[in-house]
């Protein structure tokens, strides 16, 4: 790794991460997991539920420092994150939730984001008045509003019904396309990964490690059906291999 690459690259070389379960047992959730993501790229980590994807994302976000092996994130990183649950402040309106996280965002920027995510008429509502789908959108709007250099998405569409998830996926793909930032998405849904990512990292069951990397030639809707089927087949093959 060149020193110059170290400054703009997101590089994780985790050798070990254990968590202590409620019963006091030490469980290894990550073992020798390595991946690199260049500037402007969208990476998707796909793996079975409970394989340690969220733990990995928390490590990248700097929320968990108890791990072994270096993780390099570019200096001057501004992180926007959408957690698995919306995690909005229930006592602040939707708009205030966004403004608190992104105080530097201008009125125009916020208006544009709310319009792009179909939230314009909900800006004064409290999170308790929103459906889960709308709350998810609000959490995405908040993550985008900080103009992140690194966008982290933790299963952003889980537990939404299919048409809603597809619509939101489409909106997200458009926003990712319109900004220059690094995006890291974790999901267990192969379709989601294919529709959003430039690079797909396939993870093993727990303890998680990368068992294969697939580069998507024409990401975000640019690919034909044939291409999509080939990627799905490749992922299936990787998973069977182990």
């Amino acid at each position: 790794m060149s020193p110059a690459g170290g400054r703009t690259r997101l590089e994780a070389r985790l050798t070990r991460k254990t968590v202590r379960s409620a019963s006091g047992l030490c469980i290894e959730v990550i073992a020798d997991l390595a991946f690199t993501l260049e500037e402007g790229e969208t990476g998707a980590l796909i793996g079975p539920s409970g394989c340690g994807k969220s733990t990995l994302l928390r490590i990248i976000a700097g929320l968990d420092r108890d791990y072994e092996g270096p993780v390099h994130t570019p200096v001057e990183e501004r992180i926007g994150m959408a957690f698995q649950e919306p995690r909005l402040l229930p006592w602040r309106s939707l708009e205030d939730n966004i403004r608190l996280a992104a105080p530097q965002a201008t009125d125009d920027e916020i208006d544009a984001l709310l319009a792009a995510l179909g939230l314009a008429e909900h800006r004064t509502h409290f999170p308790g008045e929103l459906s889960l789908g709308l709350a998810r959108r609000a959490a995405l709007a908040r993550a985008f509003a900080v103009r992140p250099t690194l966008l982290l998405l933790d299963e952003p569409f889980v537990s939404l019904d299919t048409p809603l998830a597809l619509q939101l996926q489409h909106d997200l793909a458009r926003l990712v396309e319109s900004r220059s930032m690094r995006t890291l998405l974790v999901t267990h849904d192969v379709g989601e990964a294919i529709h959003l990512a430039d690079r797909i990292f396939v993870l093993s069951p727990r303890p998680a490690r990368v068992i294969g990397e697939i580069v998507v030639a024409n990401p975000r809707g640019g690919m034909c059906f044939e291409e999509e089927r080939m990627i799905v087949a490749k992922i299936d093959a990787l998973r069977r291999l182990r």
Binding site: H125, G128, R142
Partner: protein, 246 residues
């Protein structure tokens, strides 16, 4: 509201009837008590006593809340602090109010500092436990959100922590206030030359039940008014977002 008013009026009526058939020296009727109240108010003595007692309630309450917030927060956040401070809290919780008051006067002298300190110390353990429980329920997910989005400490306190603690502060205020104003009277009775507690002591020595009630009832009424006009609206204000829940 009307039911409450009628209930209160029937209590007054019952009092009147009981006074009519009982010994007027032991239980003077409402009209006698109101007449005494009027006389005491006209001389200015009633308002002076009420003013000084309410000032003591406010001082003891503010002192206790400031100390309790700090200790309760530390205990809720750190398991070590909790383990160290918890036995102290348990001891204080089981120490009779009277013992604390007497010791405060013996060690501190018969002065205002000892009086207010003793009251605050009595309120401390209960409310500390309330605030600690509140801090323990703080949402770890929102805390992570605030860290990822680089909330400043002030912003985190105002928009993330305090809204979650507000119901616990309201509960601590409510239970704390009712405890404080009862104990303030005892402190005044034992070692202060003025205030409602002192006047009640005078009435006790003179065996004047009418005078006793003339001081006790307005004070109780004022405390009830503070509870309904200040504490309850505060509680409603901080939980207004809940009523919007779908």
């Amino acid at each position: 509201m009307t039911v409450r008013l009628l209930s209160l009026l029937s209590l007054l009526a019952l009092w009147q009837v009981a006074a009519h058939f009982g010994n007027p020296r032991l239980l003077p009727g409402p009209f006698t008590v109101f007449a005494t109240m009027k006389a005491e108010a006209a001389s200015g003595a009633l308002f002076a006593a009420l003013g000084i007692t309410i000032a003591r309630v406010a001082a003891a309450f503010a002192l206790a809340m400031a100390v309790v917030s700090a200790i309760g927060y530390a205990m809720g956040r750190s398991a070590l602090v909790d383990r160290i401070a918890d036995p102290w809290i348990v001891v204080l919780l089981n120490l009779p109010a009277l013992v604390i008051i007497v010791l405060a006067y013996v060690w501190g002298g018969l002065n205002e500092t000892a009086a207010i300190g003793a009251v605050a110390l009595n309120k401390l353990p209960n409310t500390t436990v309330t605030i600690r429980e509140g801090v323990r329920t703080l949402d770890a997910g929102l805390d992570e959100m605030a860290r990822v989005f680089r909330f400043s400490p002030g912003k985190r306190l105002r928009h993330v922590v305090l809204p979650q603690l507000a119901p616990f502060f309201a509960a601590a205020t409510r239970s704390g206030l009712s405890l404080v104003w009862k104990i303030v009277l005892v402190v005044e009775l034992m070692g202060r030359p003025n205030g409602v507690g002192f006047e009640i002591n005078v009435a006790f020595q003179l065996f004047d039940v009418s005078l006793l009630l003339a001081y006790a009832l307005p004070f109780t009424a004022i405390m009830l008014l503070i509870e309904t006009l200040a504490v309850q609206p505060f509680e409603r204000h901080v939980s207004r977002w809940r009523s919007h829940a779908a």
